[in-house]
């Protein structure tokens, strides 16, 4: 069997800006601007980045919830980029999504049972076994069958996220794209959900694409990690390599910016100057040059290539090698 489950090849998503009056030139927000990676069976690939970096947009393109402007998404060897809704429907059993906001991702007018049955109905599951399957799903995610007839508003955030996970599991998918699944939850609940996700992965051999902004969560859950900045991947490596030896200056700054819950540790931190530029008007050359402490003339002019510096460690920086030596 092929190792690769999902392949993302140079995908781009350009959102058209409201056109200016009397102007022929169409302008675009380049939300995702050429992202490539592969996801292997059974692994967890995380995509981290700050707001507006395009990580969620990438996830939605893989799910085909958004049209892909350019590039290809290949799932189990099938190119799904240009498939119509009807063509892709049977395939949707294979990849499912868990959303960030457990309050908004469940229809408040439906009971939990109706919510969990929906994927079964859409994918023509045997009618008689449906309620049994719903019970099974609830128990899998640590809820009881007594919860089936209740409405989403009667649950806490953590419980709702469990329901969201149960919905994604309903049709036995291979791949789950989790868009910030724990960031809306309380700290003491986050670890419950993270543990649940790890257990489910082991039990069902799931593959995760985990989209997040919290680096400590990412370090905990991932096998490999990609860092995005302004619509592009700037670094992609195994977890150990990325957290142990980050090569891109942005990754370094990001790691050092995370507050550490230990008052006895004092460390030098890299504070980036300025704000994240708008993806509607990204800087020239390396998009990070406006905030990079090591930026040089070349960085403003030339877009750095996303290259493999060490085995399976990709970086988009002109000076990755030199910076490493210092």
């Amino acid at each position: 069997m092929n190792q690769t489950l999902l392949e993302v090849q140079n995908v781009k998503k350009y959102f058209p800006m409201p056109s200016r009056l009397f102007s022929r030139k169409k302008e675009f927000v380049k939300a995702v601007d050429g992202v490539s990676f592969t996801v292997n069976r059974g692994e967890t690939l995380s995509i981290v980045g700050e707001s507006g970096c395009g990580k969620s947009t990438t996830g939605r393109m893989i799910m085909k919830l958004l049209d892909i402007t350019e590039g290809k998404v290949i799932f189990e060897g099938q190119d799904i980029t240009d498939m119509t809704d009807d063509q892709i429907r049977p395939l949707r059993k294979e990849f499912q999504m868990v959303f960030q906001d457990p309050y908004a991702s469940l229809n408040p007018r439906l009971t939990i049972k109706e919510i969990l049955e929906e994927p079964l109905i859409v994918h023509n599951f045997n009618k008689d076994n449906r309620s049994q399957r719903v019970t099974e799903l609830l128990e899998t995610v640590g809820l009881s069958r007594y919860h089936a007839d209740r409405y989403p508003h009667e649950f806490s955030g953590g419980q709702r996220q469990r329901i969201g996970i149960a919905r994604a599991l309903a049709v036995n998918p291979k791949l789950i794209i989790a868009d910030e699944p724990v960031s809306a939850l309380d700290v003491s609940i986050q670890s419950q959900v993270l543990n649940l996700m790890k257990d489910l992965q082991e039990e069902y051999g799931l593959t995760y694409v985990f989209i997040a902004h919290d680096l400590s969560v990412v370090e905990h859950i991932s096998d490999r990690v990609g860092v995005m900045y302004l619509g592009r991947l700037v670094e992609l490596a195994s977890r150990d390599a990325l957290f142990g030896k980050p090569l891109h200056p942005y990754t370094k700054a990001l790691l050092s910016a995370v507050p550490i819950p230990d008052p006895t540790v004092k460390r030098e931190r890299i504070i980036l100057k300025g704000d994240i530029p708008s993806p509607a008007n990204p800087p020239s050359g390396c998009t990070f040059h406006t905030r990079c402490p090591f930026a040089q003339e070349t960085c403003k002019l030339k877009v750095p290539e996303f290259r493999e510096i060490e085995s399976n460690h990709y970086v988009a920086c002109h000076f990755a090698e030199e910076l490493e030596e210092n």
């Binding site: 700290v187 550490i260 006895t264």
Partner: protein, 337 residues
């Protein structure tokens, strides 16, 4: 010991709705000294934000009311002040910044005007002097070209910039206490680092005491001198920051510290606190943490522990650290009925 600017003693804030009264804050006590940063940590529903709004007496838009306790600012009990007297304190002696920088500034007025408003009000400054002070404050919070920013509207600024403006606004009248309610939660990590750095440098230069309300233990470890941990409307533990992190006494604090993933520390499985964050309308009678506590004993279900000092420097609300009173030991047996 140095002088305390703000002392909160046994604060009680109750919310009344048609289905009854909810004790959103029930018996919270702490003190903040000059130039000190006190962290209040807790999850949703812990009452940490209500505590901050109670201090500012900003419960007007909520069904909440201060039902008991004292809030002493430099010796004056704020709960007894009239609304007019309280207005003189707000923004002048005690200032506040909020979680949502995107919505905390009025969208229809320019930045300058919003800054000057409180300067004119509290410092009785002329318009021109207020403008100068505004520009000076914006410069102090690290905004380049402040002369230009005063003429801009909030929607023209980024989230990080707006939070800087909020800090400038709060610090404009040299408050003695700054209450920061989740000031960096809505911001990106790299911007959060900037804002935290700014707040740290401001306390060292101005001697302002900070009350930092947050759910992020990392932020607490980085910023605070002392920490109050809240759960279910109660303060459950209070100590200096190092003790809280290295020697937590309350099972909730212990659980919380174990359940967060930490950069650089690899574990296969995280410890987690079972159960859900408590719903204020379904509080158990005894210790509020009992349903989720790995050490829950019979007494924990019967009676709420009091908030007592275990060392001179460390208070905790837990039966594990308290001698069960003799005469009430019957209670333990009675629960078996």
């Amino acid at each position: 010991m140095e002088e305390k600017v703000l002392q909160v003693r046994n604060l009680q804030t109750h919310f009344t709705s048609d289905s009854g009264t909810v004790k959103a804050v029930d018996g919270v006590s702490f003190e903040v000294g000059k130039g000190e940063t006190l962290g209040i940590v807790g999850e949703s529903g812990s009452g940490k934000s209500v505590t901050s709004l109670s201090i500012m007496r900003l419960l007007k838009d909520t069904p909440g009311k201060i039902a008991g306790g004292e809030i002493l600012y430099e010796g004056t009990d704020l709960t007894t002040l009239s609304e007019r007297e309280m207005r003189k304190i707000r923004g002048n002696d005690i200032a506040m910044i909020f979680q949502e920088p995107m919505t905390s500034l009025n969208p229809v007025y320019k930045i300058g005007r919003q800054l000057e408003e409180s300067i004119i009000l509290h410092m009785k400054a002329s318009k021109k002097a207020a403008r100068e002070r505004s520009v000076q404050m914006l410069k102090a919070v690290g905004i380049s070209r402040p002369e230009k920013i005063v003429h801009e509207f909030p929607h023209q600024l980024s989230g990080g910039m707006r939070q800087r403006v909020m800090i400038a606004m709060a610090m404009a009248c040299n408050p003695k206490v700054l209450i920061a309610d989740e000031p960096t939660t809505a911001l990106d990590v790299t911007i959060q680092a900037q804002i935290l750095e700014l707040m740290k440098s401001l306390t060292t230069t101005t001697d302002t005491a900070i009350l930092l309300i947050t759910h992020d233990l990392g932020v607490v470890a980085e910023m605070c001198d002392r920490v109050v941990v809240m759960y279910g409307g109660r303060a459950v533990e209070e100590s200096d920051v190092v003790s809280i992190f290295t020697n937590p006494k309350h099972p909730y604090t212990q659980g919380l510290l174990e359940s967060i993933p930490k950069i650089g520390e690899r574990v296969d499985r995280l410890q987690s606190i079972p159960g859900n964050v408590p719903i204020p309308s379904h509080m158990p009678m005894g210790c509020k943490f009992a349903p989720r506590c790995p050490h829950a004993m019979d007494i924990c279900w019967e009676k709420e522990p009091s908030f007592d000092k275990v060392t001179t420097n460390h208070s905790v609300r837990c039966w594990l650290h308290e001698e069960v009173p003799q005469d009430e030991s019957d209670l333990v047996g009675s629960s078996e009925r």
